[in-house]
Amino acid sequence: MTDITVPYAAVLDELESEAIHIYRETAAAFRNPVLLYSIGKDSSVLLHLALKAFAPAGLPFPVMHVDTTWKFKEMIAFRDKRVAELGLDLRISVNEAAVTEGVSPFSHGTHEYTRIMKTVALREGIDRYGFDAAIGGARRDEERSRAKERVFSLREPGHRWEPRKQRPEFWRTANTTLSEGQSMRVFPLSNWTELDVWRYIEREGIDIPSLYFAKPRPVVERDGALIMVDDERFPLREGEEAQMRSVRFRTLGCYPLSGAVESTADNLADLIAEMETSTVSERAGRLIDGEGGGSMEAKKAEGYF
């Protein structure tokens, strides 16, 4: 038995090469692929990997943001900045009908809101532009039902995910053939962990929204979660007042559904140090997952990422 020490960089190198391989396969095999860009840290890493995969050429496909209209203001500003810097072909998909109806996280339950503003908007965007493959940043470590997710995840007509129809994955060889009405979701970060994502952001100097870093922000406490009051649409309860507390976010989504954590980590090194001692999974801060053990699975079957 020899002593073997593996540097973290070597693990990241291998994960990076795997992701690039998946990107190239997707770009070549599908007629009209799209990168789903949701502005957060995983999307930032995805975008960086896409730049690496096709250099010296640019991205050979557009990026699409599914906008629920309830994202943090700063996320939208960050998105527009990155799009301008990189010259991306950005498509935005909004469920306009639901916006007109006034669907919000406060008017509908989180599950129904997510279905209408995220799942339906995603499906509509994919259909409108005729995308046959959508690349996303889902990781297998996020949630237990994700452990069985494929890298190339098949969707039946109507975007349905059927666990029993998923294709077996051998070696580096993917079956990217589609029959009528089928489409593919592709997950280049499948084998990454949350810490890998942070370590990679640090190593590569990847730009991310500052919401990930601690700063005094106006928050209220709802059902044990710290929610940031990001704009005037937030309905404060009788006598309720936003307090300034030093918080950061582990995942970014719709601001009324994103729980903040109290923290003073205002730089990457401190943040990663906090991460390494954290023992709570990141989705714990996401209010949409908390409804029943298999709620993620139920959402996926409907076409959610």
């Binding site: 190198d13 096709f54 250099a55 051998f170 060889t173």
Partner: protein, 619 residues
């Protein structure tokens, strides 16, 4: 790998875990994950307070098996039905990606998936119950899929009082099988996943064992074979074009290494070139090693397309061939059909291929070879494969990436088999088509019209033969040279060895299609009147021809009308139960999705024929 990193050892170890449900596999993986801090606290908490029906673990203790549960349906059934992927961080920094394969017999195919990337297999054996058929099955599949290190984990040693003879007995049986299968690296560890013996730390319960715990074995593991020392192989995934006439070939080095200035060969065409640049986002590299995703440019213009293999020159070069001997793991519910055309997908390469022969089916428990004509789901067998064009395939034993392939159904797009190339067949190199001066074009000039194949498909009794007969009379009078290949007539001679099972029907269609291709080449307008009930068979037939040469004509006559006509008395026999394979009765007829023409088998046949001949003559 980026420009900045160099790798020593194997940073990511692909582990496959196998064993029966009752061997305690979920508990073993759960404990490994928990004791390496690879699960978040809230998931551990969940495993403390949740209990499955029948569980005897007290609330408050961690039920490790719950940590590896996945889908809701499985939680309800209390079993694992698919491959699950998890990660584990070892104290020395090594990442372990665990592919967890289920233990049920019917899921041998999932076992093959999990083992396909495996460096190391942990094979669980229940000490109390001993070696079972399942153990041999999993070991065989691991060996077949190229797993080089097998760790025999003799689990539940606490139930046999940690007795050494029990351990030795099990290990000797498994080792004998491993030796027969040629597994190069076999170790054995006595353990108890439930009690925590030898999982992540050595135990005091078995002084007779001095080896490492499972965690220690995984930390110290080194590969038996070094892929980077093998010949250079680079399947081209994507052509990168950029400003200034940049043309690069993007892909991953799957074995060996390549440096700027090396001479390489495009194995598909045999053309050689010299590596000009090794391009990455972070800057050019001098050398790219196994596992690195890079973009290569060549010193001069060579024809390279996606799917081509760039390889080292010299004696290790693989020659393109169009016939291969291969092992298949059959994955689909529908069995393998001889003569049916599938897509062979290997890396980024995709080529139509046919299984021409099944040599034998392998009994994965005993290792015996049984003669077989087909392969069913979960079967493993040796076959011969013919591809539509020559491709360079390495033996699987040399390279998983360039020797492994998938077979994909051309209609459903499902992956139906995983294939492991054994060797190219010599006779493929010896068949060299001869080109004759008097060719199809010359014959078309003499005939005065081009050849065509008019493929009439439909139920028995739908009117295919009658329509063919009337159309040929009409064309003959116009001076068109015709011939009819009628299903029943062909079965009296050329195809008299074939029956009516789906695989025999596929072969029937294949032969008729090949004959009609020869006749077309001779300049004839060929009518095929054949039930040909399966979409994929007709698709295979059509694939032999150039666009415009092949007309798929669907004779759309309802089964009621056909049964009433019953010109050959077939429907009466089927109704009496003496024709189980009768199309439209015992077997399904798959209507064409995009026929070139639909004709109705009822009504004025002369009008129908006018419609048909107009299309044939291009009027």
């Amino acid at each position: 790998m980026s420009a900045t990193g160099t790798t020593t050892g194997t940073p990511v170890l692909h582990l496959v875990t196998c064993g029966s449900v009752d061997d305690g596999k979920s508990t073993l993986i759960g404990r490994l994950l928990a004791e390496t801090n690879s699960v978040p606290l809230d998931q551990l908490e969940y495993a403390r307070r949740t209990r499955r029906g029948g569980s005897t673990i007290p609330i408050g203790d961690v039920d490790f098996s719950l940590l590896t549960d996945g889908l809701e349906a499985e939680r309800e059934q209390g079993i694992t039905i698919d491959v699950a992927y998890r990660h584990m961080n070892l104290p020395n920094g090594r990442r372990v990606l665990i592919a967890d394969a289920p233990g049920h017999e019917q899921y041998t195919r999932n076992m093959a998936v999990a083992a396909s990337n495996g460096d190391v297999a942990v094979l669980l054996v229940d000490a109390a119950r001993g070696v079972r058929p399942q153990t041999h099955r999993h070991l065989t599949v691991c060996a077949l899929m190229g797993v080089k290190t097998v760790i025999i984990a003799v689990n539940k040693m606490d139930l046999v009082d940690y007795a050494e003879p029990v351990f030795n007995e099990i290990v000797s049986v498994v080792e004998a099988t491993a030796a027969r299968l040629g597994v190069p690296d076999v170790r054995a560890i006595p353990m108890s996943a439930g009690a925590g013996d030898n999982v992540t730390a050595p135990t005091a319960h078995m002084h007779w064992y001095s080896g490492p715990s499972l965690l220690g074995a995984l930390s110290g593991w080194e590969p038996v074979e070094d892929n980077s020392a093998k010949p250079f192989r680079f399947p081209v995934q994507f052509i990168v074009r950029a400003d200034g006439n940049f043309r690069g070939y993007a892909g991953t080095v799957v074995s060996g290494e390549v440096s700027k200035g090396d001479e390489v060969v495009v194995a598909d065409s045999g053309r050689t070139a010299v590596i000009d640049r090794i391009v990455t986002y972070g800057g050019d590299l001098q050398t790219a090693v196994t596992g690195q995703a890079v973009t290569l440019t060549l010193d001069h213009e060579v024809d390279v397309t996606r799917g081509d293999l760039i390889a080292a020159t010299g004696p290790t070069l693989v020659q393109p061939a169009d016939r291969f001997s291969a092992d298949l793991v059959w994955l689909a519910e529908e069995p393998l059909a001889h003569g049916r055309s599938y897509l062979l997908v290997s890396g980024s390469r995709s080529v139509p291929a046919t299984v021409t022969n099944v040599r034998y089916r392998l009994d994965v428990v005993s290792g015996h070879e049984h003669s077989a004509r087909l392969l069913d789901m979960n079967d493993v067998g040796r076959v011969e494969i013919a591809t539509d064009r020559p491709i360079p395939m390495d033996p699987y034993s040399t390279s998983r990436d360039t020797g492994g392939f998938l077979l994909v159904d051309r209609v459903t797009a499902d992956t139906v088999a995983a294939g492991l190339t054994r060797h190219a067949m010599r006779r493929a190199f010896n068949v060299v088509p001869h080109t004759y001066d008097v060719d199809h074009d010359a014959r078309v000039l003499m005939m005065g019209h081009p050849g065509k194949v008019v493929w009439l498909t439909g139920l028995p009794g739908s009117g295919k033969s009658s329509i063919a007969d009337a159309a040929v009379r009409r064309l003959h009078a116009l001076g068109v040279h015709t011939y009819v290949l009628d299903g029943d007539n062909v079965r009296a001679g050329l195809n008299k060895d074939l029956g009516f099972t789906p695989e025999d029907r596929a072969e029937n269609v294949r032969r008729v299609a090949e004959v009609s291709k020869l006749m077309l080449d001779s300049g004839l307008v060929v009518f095929v009147a054949l039930v040909s009930p399966y979409r994929s068979d007709r698709l295979s037939a059509k694939a032999l021809f150039e666009p415009g040469e092949f007309l798929e004509v669907y004779i759309d006559t309802s089964v009621d009308v056909c049964a009433e006509r019953d010109p050959k008395g077939l429907y009466a026999k089927a109704a009496a139960g003496s024709l189980p394979n009768m199309t439209g009765m015992g077997q399904v007829y798959e209507e064409p999705e995009h026929p070139d023409l639909v004709l109705h088998g009822v009504g004025d046949i002369e009008a129908t024929v006018t419609q048909l001949t107009a299309v044939i003559l291009g009027e």
